[in-house]
């Protein structure tokens, strides 16, 4: 099925508009070009006239919040992989399983298909999310014009596959809840599981903190002229997102 060109870009002469994230209504950007409020005064906000949702030209503090979540996720990624996510106890032995260990066991058992699924969900997706979001946040500031379409598609990919890394958390919860036969046989969640679950949640929060519209922003022209103070770019950003 071909994508019929049923919507065409609006004329460039149009005043700046904002689309409501909640109801889709398009309103004129009342704060476009407005001066930033002096420090100490609450920032002016515009609300959607139909549903009352706050309208932002860009998500506030998007890059900062994305970095905070991505870095926290990257730090927790280490204990998530090193610490055991699950401990199995049987009459004869007590075994600790790490994320990668579980995948290797599945592979050794001959369930190659399953081990590939778990590898994608538990190893590939978190690494992809941390890497892609770090790249997006970095290029927004340092290489804004670089491969915009590809970056936009990467963001949509991360947004779509993000929650699949919860797979291993559910598996451990279900195994732990089912195999409870006391000392004979039991499965317990390990400390690595909490770290891994935090990585999943933090990368999801980072995904929602990042504003994909930033990919298409041009560096503020005031910064290039150099006629304004050094923090002019920051002021322009803050004024738009307030």
């Amino acid at each position: 099925m071909s994508a019929a060109p049923v919507a065409s870009p609006a004329d460039a002469g149009l005043p700046p508009v904002l689309g409501c994230e909640s109801c889709g209504l398009v309103s004129a950007d009342a704060l476009a070009g407005a001066e930033m409020e002096p420090a100490g005064r609450p920032p002016r906000i515009q609300k959607c006239s139909r549903c009352g949702h706050v309208l932002h030209a860009r998500k506030p503090m998007s890059v900062q919040r994305t970095w905070a979540c991505v870095l926290a996720a990257a730090v927790l990624y280490l204990p998530a992989n090193v610490l055991p996510i699950m401990t199995t106890v049987s009459a004869l032995q007590r075994e600790e399983h790490t994320l990668i260990g579980g995948i290797l066991e599945l592979w050794a058992d001959g369930s190659w298909g399953l081990s590939v699924i778990v590898f994608i969900a538990s190893i590939a997706v978190p690494v992809l999310k941390i890497g892609v979001l770090g790249l997006l946040a970095w290029t927004t500031r340092h290489a804004p014009a670089w491969r915009r379409l590809e970056r936009a598609k990467l963001y949509r990919l991360v947004e779509t596959v993000g929650h699949w890394s919860m797979l291993d958390v559910y598996v451990v919860v279900l195994l732990g809840a089912t195999i409870r036969f006391g000392p004979l046989a039991s499965v317990q969640a390990g400390p690595g599981l909490l770290a891994f679950a935090s990585v999943v949640v933090l990368t999801m929060l980072a995904t929602y903190a990042f504003d994909p519209k930033l990919i298409w922003d041009d560096p503020a022209p005031v910064a290039r002229h150099g006629a304004l103070p050094a923090n002019a770019t920051e002021t322009a950003h803050a004024g738009r997102s307030a």
Partner: protein, 200 residues
């Protein structure tokens, strides 16, 4: 608001404004700049959406109330429901994992369905429910954090792992979650913004 702005649609992903024309059925409008989907020609009608939501609610309740997995180990049988698994995690001292599982597999999907029912039933009768705007906003969040499909695949995966240890069998709950997974995807494909089209 001018008439001009009424026929505009702004790309959610990149913020580019597009002039909107009614879409032919089965056609997809994509953003001219970032290629994200702007809208689809095919929309579920309100009655269809309502009946899908009611079906999904029934199926989801069955999934919550019945066994997802059952296990027979040397004569000792054990069956497990989703709420049972969550409370078992809590009792064993993994409160945060229990809470996370409860939010993503139970609370968010319940809100996903419950708020839709609360909104769709009055809309189908031609009324606008109280707090409609807040419900739609909350529905956006519920959709983001609802992971019924991941839980279903996780349950299948656990079943495979368990069957190497003992006599494991899928319960009716697993079947219900499988059906809920498909219904959730169908409901989600309708989107949320179009709910506002009914309100004018």
């Amino acid at each position: 608001m001018s008439r001009e702005q009424n026929s505009l649609v702004v790309c959610e992903q990149c913020g580019l404004a597009h002039r909107w024309r009614p879409l032919a059925p089965s056609s997809v409008a994509r953003c001219a700049r970032c290629e994200a989907i702007l809208g689809r020609g095919h929309r579920l009608t309100l009655p269809t959406l309502l009946s899908l939501t009611i079906t999904a609610t029934v199926v989801f309740l069955i999934g919550l109330g019945s066994d997802v997995l059952s296990l027979d180990m040397r004569g000792v049988a054990r069956a497990m429901t989703l709420p049972g698994a969550i409370s078992a995690m809590w009792e064993e001292g993994h409160e945060s994992v229990a809470v996370l599982t409860a939010i993503t597999a139970l609370v968010a999907p319940a809100l996903f369905l419950g708020l839709r029912l609360y909104v769709l039933v009055p809309l189908a009768a031609g009324r606008v429910p109280r707090g409609f705007a807040a419900c739609v906003r909350l529905l956006h969040q519920a959709g983001r954090w609802s992971m019924v499909e991941v839980f279903t695949i996780g349950a299948l995966l656990s079943l495979v792992r368990l069957s190497s240890l003992a006599d494991a069998a899928p319960g009716p709950g697993l079947l219900a979650f499988g059906a809920a997974m498909v219904l959730f995807a169908a409901i989600e494909s309708a989107g949320l913004k179009h709910l506002w089209w009914q309100v004018r």
